[in-house]
Chain length 223, copies 2
């Protein structure tokens, strides 16, 4: 592999990692407020895991800065540096494996995840979506739901599969659209719920309490 | 019109009706538990309206018996008695107009409503759907949602348009799918919420508090 494809702050070969906790790789494209919720929940012991690497397809995503501030390795994978989408996804997979990742969380990552990543981390790739799936899949879910005139929308955390926003659902929370709601106020409400729901879902995963059974995700009782 | 097409208990020409309250026509295909909720809410004054006629496309729908017990006119409109769907819908429209209906409520009516009915009662045809639309439109919504593995489903009341389960949404209520849920327990939860939600929606209509604005239904404050 040509390491010029990577732009990694922490060096292509990370130091030997002896932390035995679950290693989480977070994929982002933007400001990374959900990433921050995960970093904080790992730091304060809510989640028994460590965010090992943050990968962005945008070089200026503020989430990369959040990661650097928390001493977490960051990787910018530049889609335009790869001639094929398969090569891009191979680089993404390699970066995740390099950091010993056991769970991949797509937290505002605005690209479809390639099959190689899904195959490399079976049953261990989560996506966060700002609507009650299967309603309003796609990149403009909050606005789409608002314009559709729904009275209830919400947030979904699900395991990713090869179809955008479709895999088995781990957690959902409903949000009421108020009479005087605007897209902006709805976005604020949804982001607040997202932070809580992604932490819950990752915590359950770290505790070994999620079982995928066909399309259903069973949540096992705490031991 | 050939009155052999109708099978109406109360006679084809009803007695002169001097009740000035909103007249509701309820379309059913089955047991009519939502119809019963509406009958009860009109009787106890929760809704300032009267159920004027109950129309079924099934001759043995128990909802017809509920209506008879409450002294409400019943009509069985037999689809097979009409050569075209347009003729069937014309008969349906005529029966509703005959009873001075100002609001049509589809409460478990398992047929698509024809354009003539929608045109005859503009902005005044409601449908009740056992899911959070736009998720799980269609006739097996509860089972479909359960098998999809959603963690949140619910109930929708919406104004009907020419597309099944699509028109502007009046009210929605979320329902959590429990870990030990079955289709049967979920159905029971959903029906309970349906009874409350359809009464709320019809009450708001009767109070003149619903305003359709494009895809949105604005709920005006009580006066």
């Amino acid at each position: 592999m040509d390491d010029s494809m990577f732009h990694e702050d922490a060096g292509f070969f990370p130091p030997v990692d002896t932390d035995e906790r679950l290693h989480i790789g977070v994929l982002i494209s933007g400001s990374g407020t959900n990433l921050q919720a995960l970093i904080d929940a790992c730091a304060d012991g809510t989640i028994d895991a460590v965010v090992a690497v943050v990968i962005s397809n945008k070089p200026d995503a503020f989430g990369l800065e959040r990661a650097r501030r928390a001493g977490i390795a960051t990787v910018y994978v530049d889609r335009t540096a790869y001639t094929t989408i398969a090569a891009y996804n191979h680089a993404l997979t390699a970066a995740l494996m390099q950091h010993g990742v056991g769970l991949v969380v797509m937290a505002g990552y605005m690209r479809l995840l390639g099959q190689e990543v899904l195959t490399a981390f079976p049953g261990a790739v989560m996506n966060l979506h700002p609507a009650l799936l299967p309603s309003f899949a796609g990149a403009s879910a909050i606005k789409d739901a608002f314009e559709h005139g729904v009275k209830i929308t919400g947030v979904t955390v699900h395991f990713a599969d090869e179809v955008f926003d479709r895999g088995p659902i781990i957690a959902q929370e409903p949000i009421r659209v108020a009479e005087d709601e605007t897209v902006a106020t709805l976005e604020a409400k949804i982001h607040e719920v997202e932070h809580r729901l992604v932490v819950d879902a990752v915590r359950l995963f770290a505790e070994g309490r999620l079982a995928i059974e066909g399309r259903k995700v069973r949540i096992k009782a705490a031991e």
